[in-house]
């Protein structure tokens, strides 16, 4: 495996040594390309089909979220975070709300915490489903996409019923929740769990032992646990490399310490292990939801939070385990109604940095597979 510390930046002017001294090919992949999951541009340097090096050009979706935050009040900024990782909007909202709550030194009431956990875990499943569908599509299996989207629909229906929105939900408020769970919420979530359990097996049936799938994913885009840590890669990618680390366990937030679940890990850190880890994570999320639904307490859903929020001067860093990895918010308050500075630590952005390490020496088709397996969302990379 290439050592990330010795990787030189991509130099397009001096050619590397190529096979048979042939000319190397520089290919510009994206920003409009079916497999780059949005507007990622990758400059590939190829020897035939072998990747000698690549460089990511990002920023096509840069909207200046951090700058906007400095001109909005704490409450007004809340919906904006949904637009970063738009396939896991609920997780983004959870991270932001908890960070501001920490700054205000309030805590959401238990009932709100439970509902938060249920929605966040549902969102994790939805995010992984979208990943699975698009990842399989990139590798050439077109059918799983439709299966996952069919089942993701059920989750989105629950979101829609709960807060009116399907994708950018804005489900949580600072201090708790705005909406009480609708009538039959628990029942619908339970129904979803019984509906969904056999569906995971269905996905696995299509892919897990499929010979072509195995050949395409085993040993592709390998990265060791040490490299992962050096590159700051988190989330399922880190866990697939054998590091058993999940912020939900390591530094529990919300009320994850009340739930019993496992952290699935892989051994080889290749694309196949990352696939297995995410599949197992969906199952674990189901377990968490099951426990949470069974244990929802009665009570208020909103803590006592002033109408006009003026957190005391200070700064706070709070991070959660988003479906893609560690999602952190660094908030600096100057005592006014608007945050002085909000820094978002996006998991996709940092994970994308590993693409170069994972792809060198592999083939063009593997670049596609690795982009898929990193599970990036360009809205979050570019913010």
């Amino acid at each position: 495996m290439t050592d990330p510390n010795t990787l030189s930046p991509l130099d397009l002017d001096t050619p590397d040594k190529t096979f048979l001294d042939s000319n190397e090919l520089v290919i510009n992949m994206g920003p409009q390309h079916p497999a780059t999951h949005g507007v990622l541009r990758v400059i590939l340097r190829l020897d035939g089909e072998k990747v000698l090096g690549l460089e990511c050009v990002i920023g096509y979706l840069h909207r200046g979220v951090e700058k906007i935050a400095e001109h909005r009040t704490y409450t007004m900024f809340n919906p904006y975070v949904d637009r970063m990782d738009y396939v896991a909007a609920v997780s983004n909202g959870l991270g932001y709300c908890e960070a501001v709550e920490k700054l205000l030194s309030v805590e959401a009431p238990p009932r709100a915490q439970y509902i938060r956990v249920i929605l966040t875990e549902l969102n994790r499943i939805a995010s992984h489903q979208l990943w699975l569908g698009t990842h399989a599509l990139d590798i050439g299996a077109i059918t799983p996409l439709f299966y996952t989207f069919r089942d993701r629909e059920e989750i989105l229906k629950i979101f829609e019923k709960y807060c009116g929105a399907r994708l950018t939900t804005h489900a949580f408020r600072i201090g708790g929740l705005q909406y009480e769970a609708y009538d039959g919420f628990e029942k619908e979530v339970k129904n979803f769990l019984t509906f969904f359990a056999p569906k995971i097996d269905e996905y696995e049936e299509l892919l897990t032992t499929n010979r072509i799938w195995l050949e395409r994913t085993k040993g592709v885009g390998k990265i060791s646990g040490k490299d992962c840590i050096a590159l700051g890669v988190t989330g399922p990618v880190l866990r697939a490399s054998g590091v058993q680390w999940d912020i939900r366990k390591a530094q529990p937030y919300a009320n994850y310490k009340n739930f019993d679940f496992k952290i699935p890990t892989g051994e080889h850190g290749d694309t196949y292990d990352r696939y297995l880890v995410r599949m197992a994570e969906m199952r674990q999320s189901c377990r968490i939801i099951e426990q949470a639904v069974a244990g929802i307490p009665e009570g208020p859903i909103m803590a006592k939070v002033p109408k006009v929020m003026k957190p005391p001067v200070g700064e706070v860093y709070h991070s959660i385990e988003a479906p893609k990895g560690e999602l952190g918010y660094f908030i600096v308050s100057d005592g006014s109604t608007q945050p002085y500075r909000i820094r978002v630590r996006p998991p996709s952005f940092v994970n994308l940095q590993a693409l170069d390490v994972m792809c060198r020496g592999q083939l063009v088709s593997d670049v596609i597979a690795v982009i898929g397996t990193l599970d990036i969302v360009l809205g979050e990379v570019d913010r």
């Binding site: 089909e49 590798i139 072509i212 050949e215 088709s365």
Partner: protein, 430 residues
């Protein structure tokens, strides 16, 4: 005038294909028939692929244009013809222009020797199978020129992949074909390369070559069946046009009518290689179970099947007419579907007429077998992920080629002592 009619009629009494009989009139008629039939088949295949794939993927597929989207391919064709035809500024204009024609030409010329029945072929060449393999491999030329002339990276890589892939799978394909040709030499001692001759050899030997020297025929068939998917660049070997990697591969820069030519060529190539497989292993136009269910009664029963099939499709149409929503908006659709069903039913009834029945039976069985292959193509596409290029080459050279060679040698050895082989299996040598 009288001579002309004589000239036309004289062929009908002969037992030859128009090409072999040297009858130019009937050859022209057959060429037109094959061309029109193939175009209809491609259009139907387009609709069927979208529908079947959609149903495999829990969605409906085209539903808007005509009842159940039946007119969708026609709407697509009109769209493609009306589309702006773009030639990139940096492209080599002449080569860019000629590439799709080479591909289409290669795909269509193959059908000159495809035998739809003992007399239903444009011509019968004594080197039929060689001609077929040779011409169908010409299409790689068109693909390479298309990729090169586009003067763009993705088409170039697609073209390179395509040429490497087609050339390497042709080797395995050829070996499998040679093993069949050996099997044809059993009765006559000389063997034949003629497509019609190969089917007749299966008829006289009493079993399709897929069951010959079990499992040798079967292995040869599987080698061919895998190689032919790679040869036509279809999933899971669709690397030259891997959508998620190379956007559209060699035809990325093509649009409108030129693109539709590639599309036409791809589907007719699929039909062409399927017809080779059917001719070589599945008994061509022969009806199923020729050795088990024989006698005039069974002949009659099997000759009724074509008409019954069409009646069955007509019944499906009428069933759906009844199920159509009773709403003024659906009136035209309902009527259209009923009309379509009526046409199918009429064709089915015509097929019961004894004269037609005898002439159409061969073509029907041939088409049905090819249709089975077409369904397999769609099924593969719905099920498998895509191979990577090195894995594809590994499979071609390290698995299929040695298997093909071993098969060739084994077949030769067994064919030399075919009498012993049959004794071993307890079958008397004919």
């Amino acid at each position: 005038m009288h001579e002309l009619i004589d000239y036309i009629q004289s062929y009908l009494k002969s037992n030859l294909t128009p090409g072999a009989a040297g009858n130019i009139f009937w050859a022209t008629v057959y060429i037109l028939l094959v061309f029109v039939g193939l175009s209809i088949a491609v259009i139907a295949m387009n609709w069927l692929e979208r529908k079947i794939l959609a149903h495999m993927q829990v969605r409906l597929g085209p539903m808007r244009v005509g009842p159940h989207g039946l007119l969708q391919p026609i709407a697509d064709a009109i769209k493609l013809l009306l589309k702006e035809d773009i030639i990139p500024a940096e492209a080599d204009k002449f080569v860019f222009w000629i590439a799709p024609f080479i591909v289409v030409l290669a795909a269509f010329t193959v059908f000159v020797v495809v035998p739809f029945g003992p007399t239903h072929a444009i011509t019968d060449m004594n080197i039929g199978i060689l001609f077929m393999l040779g011409v169908s491999s010409l299409s790689v030329l068109g693909i390479v020129t298309a990729g090169w002339a586009s003067n763009s990276h993705y088409p170039l890589i697609g073209a390179l992949r395509s040429s490497a892939q087609m050339v390497s799978y042709e080797v395995a394909m050829g070996l499998a074909v040679v093993s069949v040709i050996m099997m044809t030499s059993l009765q006559t001692g000389t063997g034949t390369l003629s497509m019609i001759g190969i089917v007749q050899a299966q008829q006289t030997s009493g079993e399709w070559f897929i069951f010959k020297f079990f499992p040798l025929g079967l292995i040869g068939f599987f080698i061919f069946a895998i190689a032919m998917v790679a040869e036509t660049n279809r999933a899971p070997f669709d690397l030259p046009e891997a959508e998620s990697e190379l956007t559209a591969g060699f035809h990325t820069e093509y649009s409108g009518f030129r693109w539709s030519l590639f599309f036409l060529a791809e589907y007719s190539a699929m039909i062409a290689v399927s017809s080779i497989a059917v001719t070589l292993w599945l008994g061509g136009w022969l009806r199923p179970f020729p050795n088990l269910l024989h006698g005039s009664t069974w002949d009659l029963v099997f000759s009724l099947v074509p008409g019954l099939t069409f009646l069955f499709f007509a019944a499906i149409c009428f069933f759906n007419v009844v199920r159509m929503p009773k709403h003024p908006l659906f009136k035209i659709q309902t009527m259209g579907l009923a009309g379509f069903g009526a046409v199918l039913g009429l064709i089915g009834l015509v097929m019961f007429v004894p004269g037609v029945r005898d002439r159409v039976g061969d073509i029907f069985w041939f088409a049905a077998k090819v249709a089975g292959f077409m369904y397999l193509y769609i099924w593969y596409r719905g099920t498998f992920p895509r191979y990577r290029f090195d894995q594809l080459m590994k499979m071609g050279w390290k698995v299929l080629l040695p298997m093909g060679l071993a098969l060739l040698i084994l077949t030769a050895v067994v064919a030399m002592r075919a009498d012993l082989w049959d004794q071993l299996r307890g079958v008397g040598h004919p």
